[in-house]
């Protein structure tokens, strides 16, 4: 074997590996896309019909499923539910987590380390351990089958997560800046508000994106608390309520999945590097 052949083989191996992994990752999304725009007679052909290739459009694509989704299902209601629940949760999360993260990163000293880890550990407590007692707490509060139950409960996982994330960002801001501000006559709090907060805007923005995606992805609590179709979020409505009787409208279902997941996936990916940076920065000593 010559050196060139070995190199050729290595490249071939690399590219086939990349191809296999990429196809595996993208395949369900491709399937959403093709199903959402296929005509029913092209869609509902049994898989035993080997002559009919399901991978491609055998008939011209149609917008019928999309029209049905937006006109005759509660999809738009679910989207708006998701948006306002998400917005409120993000707001609560920021009000609580921004000061907490700063405090853990700077002010509390040696305790900051331990408390920071403790906060992160609460993020590890799974919804599946808590949803049964939560259902009891929610009925005591009189919030059963209401989106407000989600607004109350979701911050229990967004706060630990964003606190940890922001802790990392605050550690990257040099202390000298605040001390300068204090020498210039600001109080410590004034220095924080006027100097540190503006600098941490990118970090806060990242936290907002991630808190919102966490809300959008959450399924277990929504399933536990919400039973009325009109009050569901997208993640719950599409798999639970977009079925009429025993008939699946696969075209509309896949359109629903596509429109809700692709934008969030793109935004998420754009912020991914930042997010990894924040998480790992939170893990090392500042």
């Amino acid at each position: 074997m010559s050196k060139r052949m070995i190199r050729g083989l290595a490249w071939a191996g690399l590219y086939s590996g990349i191809t296999i992994f990429t196809v595996f990752a993208v395949f369900p999304f491709y399937w959403m896309l093709i199903t959402a725009f296929k005509q029913n007679r092209d869609l509902y052909v049994g898989a035993t019909q080997l002559g009919h290739v399901p991978w491609i459009f055998n008939d011209p694509p149609t917008l019928e499923h999309v029209r049905l989704l937006f006109q005759s299902t509660p999809y738009v209601t679910w989207l708006s539910n998701t948006v306002w629940v998400g917005a409120l949760v993000v707001l609560i999360t920021l009000v609580v987590a921004v000061p907490a993260a700063y405090s853990l990163a700077r002010l509390v000293g040696a305790w900051g380390e331990r408390l920071g880890i403790l906060v992160f550990l609460t993020y590890l407590v799974p919804p599946t351990l808590l949803f049964i007692p939560f259902s009891r707490v929610i009925s005591l509060l009189g919030l059963q089958n209401s989106q407000w139950a989600l607004v109350v409960v979701y911050p229990t996982f967004t706060i630990p997560f964003t606190t940890w994330l922001l802790m990392g960002f605050y550690r990257t801001i040099p202390r000298d800046l605040e001390e300068q501000a204090m020498i210039d006559g600001y109080s410590r709090l004034g220095g924080i508000v006027r100097v540190v907060l503006p600098l941490s805007v990118p970090g806060v923005l990242t936290a907002v994106i991630f808190a919102f995606t966490l809300v959008m992805q959450e399924f277990v609590y929504a399933l536990t608390f919400i039973s009325s179709v009109g009050r569901m979020t997208v993640s719950l409505g599409v798999p639970v309520a977009l079925v009429r009787g025993d008939v699946y409208y696969w075209g509309s279902l896949m359109a629903a999945a596509l429109f809700a997941s692709v934008p969030i996936a793109i935004v998420y990916n754009l912020f991914m590097d930042r997010f990894i940076g924040g998480l790992t920065a939170g893990a090392v000593k500042g």
Binding site: A100, V137, N269
Partner: protein, 317 residues
Amino acid sequence: MGARRDVAQLAPQAVGLGARWRFVADQAGVLGWFMLTPALLYVSLLVGVPFVLAIVLSFSAATAGSLSLSWVGLRNFAMVLADPMFHRAVANTFLFTFVSQALVLVLATVQALLLTVAFPGRRVVRFLMLLPWAAPVALSSMAWTWIFDSTFSVINWTASVIHLLRPGQWWYWLGTPDLAMIAIITVHVWRMLPFGTVVLLAGMTAIPQDVREAALIDGAGFWRRLFQVEVPMLLPIVTVVVLFGVVFTFTDLSVVWLLTRGGPYNTTHVLASLAFQRGILGGNLGEGAAIALFLFPVLVVGAVVMLRMARRAEVGA
């Protein structure tokens, strides 16, 4: 701390704050706790209290209909432990966790290694490989449900065309226990893989290049470099991936619930989905809580490992 407080006292007139509040706004300790309290309160009230309640409920005969808590001691646990469906769920949970996390670890390592090579279009490929992690699981699982559909499964069509499936042979993916378990594990691996890849990739790029070069100059081959340089240096980050993955998988019910609802005939339940079925749908909160409490040991192990790692990081820093 002392020096910093002197700096604060050197500062001239307060700006925009009454003198009375000035001391609060300047005392690092006071201000720190003041800023931290809301978060600690929220988390302890809404995680701590339900957590204790989870334990209390498991010793009671609570039902969804009433708000009373009647103490029944260990009856729920005795009932659960004698239940064959529970045994099946425990076995499934371990199988599901172990197999899917082993696959994630191996595949994520390969995927991360592929992504360390500079090839044209790497950014696009990375973007595509990361998609499954960001998409809401409830929605992507619907796509998988359709892919595994008993009549229209594209997998079966493709397998028939390439003669993997003989005429008359058919896979009922979500209708036969073994195939359903394979389907569940596949979907879970698909969704967890990007997370593992991203974290491992971050770890790999953090290894200083000169360490690699030194190994190369000393004449270490690819495998030797992999197992004597990369792997030991990656160990902490691998621990994070495995730890998070195990805790997350062991306690998750999303994929199981979305794909099979625990079916066919309750053969694919994991602990979490069984707890949901008994506690929420069946209205038997006590029994559900007892089942969910079996998730707790894994959580404790996870927390202990995490704390030990944090301590080691402190010593090493």
